[in-house]
Symmetry: C2
Subunit: 274 residues, 2 copies
């Protein structure tokens, strides 16, 4: 990475714990490739210190913004001066820009990173019928981003019906024209998505009924470790095209850099297509 000088713009990632975050390495590598005079550093902030930490960052004129991750995504919703409709719908903020006047502008890019990765794989979700496993934080973000990308139908499959109902209700308010269902057997799907954590452990059950693979849908995974989850293995065996979890992060890093003002929008396409 380039040397940090008095003109370098500072960005952060707020998390608790912090030791495991990978974003500083990935973002600083992106800054280096794109020639950005910026640096992203880790800030270990506990929940009880979040409001004061954000207030302090607000007063730093060369601070460009930050990524909020566990456990701060929900709390950031109320600490921002402005949040995107998707972030409001998902109920969480994961990226915040500090405007020159100190205002904090939050958004939620988990799902938009997923959609950008889909498009980079040549799978435009517009008009498609999608079946999504999960109704938690990651799945909600993916659901809102898919709805925003113009899918025709979304089936949400989840073990906790109340969570599914809540997500469908919020989606119905934000996207009144979207066809929604909870029974994956009610029709065929062009795209299957795993937005649960099922598949991180070798003995996890599949997040979706493998019978759904018979129609040869495109299968996308949000899990990064392992690289090939049991669902992806089954999908490949069934002759489906698949997308691993990692491109979702790679695409999101570019979106984050753009939201924080470190990269211009056109760089997105280069980054996503890389």
């Amino acid at each position: 990475m380039r040397a940090i000088t008095g003109t370098t713009r500072v960005y952060g990632i707020l998390a608790d714990p912090i030791y495991h975050v990978k974003t500083p390495e990935v973002m600083n590598a992106l800054f280096a490739r794109a020639g950005v005079d910026g640096v992203l550093v880790p800030f270990h902030v506990a929940p009880d210190g979040l409001a004061a930490a954000v207030e302090g960052l607000r007063r730093m004129h060369n601070f460009g913004g930050f990524i909020a991750t566990v456990p701060h995504k929900t709390a950031m919703l109320d600490l921002c001066d402005e949040v995107s409709p998707d972030a409001r719908g998902v109920g969480a903020v994961n990226c915040v820009r500090r405007d020159p006047d100190g205002r904090m502008i939050g958004t939620m890019l988990d799902g938009l990173g997923f959609v950008a990765a889909l498009r980079a794989s040549g799978e435009d979700p517009a008009g498609k019928r999608v079946c999504l496993a999960g109704a938690g934080g990651a799945a909600s973000a993916i659901a809102f981003a898919l709805a925003g990308a113009g899918i025709a139908h979304l089936t949400v499959v989840n073990r906790t019906p109340a969570r599914t109902d809540g997500l469908l209700a919020r989606l119905a308010v934000a996207y009144p024209g979207l066809s929604l269902a909870t029974d994956p057997g009610g029709g065929t799907h062009d795209i299957l998505v795993n937005g649960t954590s099922l598949g991180m452990r070798a003995d996890d059950p599949l997040p979706l009924d493998p019978a759904l693979l018979a129609a040869r849908p495109f299968v996308a995974e949000a899990i990064m470790e392992p690289e090939i989850t049991p669902l992806l293995a089954a999908a490949e065996a069934a002759g489906c095209r698949v997308q691993r979890g990692r491109p979702m992060l790679d695409c999101q890093i570019v979106l984050m850099a753009q939201h924080m003002g470190a990269l211009q929008p056109q760089v997105l396409n280069e980054g996503a297509a890389r």
Copy 2:
């Protein structure tokens, strides 16, 4: 510099303006040489945001401390939870450690860096008679550090008598045994020090009477630009040993890293002797 990861400890420099600061490059180079998993970044903070910025940094558990420079050195005195006696005497803080419990511990290292540089040049000030030009911030820090290093006598020469009187009064309280004077003609001096800004511009008058060079004192400069001030040029012409301004900064960087807990004390000696 090494890659920034989730385990990297963060340090800062607070200034307004910020673009001109050199500390990030110098400190990060020191961290790289010493194998410290740390990074120092610039924080542009205006006076009206200083308290909130410090409060925010207090809540960041992986934040190790910061350097305070213009215009924050005086204000930091009251924003620290604890300050060193020298910082209290000088009336300014330029380096703050964040303890694990969030307490901010301030000190003033401008003068100690100067004394460390003197010692590295083989000029131990203990027992010496010193004549110091200046009674402002930099000169006060040097005066206190020289007093702490055990000089036998200090003559302070300054254009503003009230400032001189104030410095001498504070020194007399902190170091009651120290011989103090304001007339440089009252005795010989082993060491002459320029703690004023006279010499930064080519047409500045000399900060001290060149007649003082006749006794072949050691002559030390706090100005870094130009490297050879008119005083240093005159001193070299008179056959005096001299010390430029830069070693004061180099030694102080090591002291700052130590105060903030990034380096162990023994590294000082290596750094200073380098």
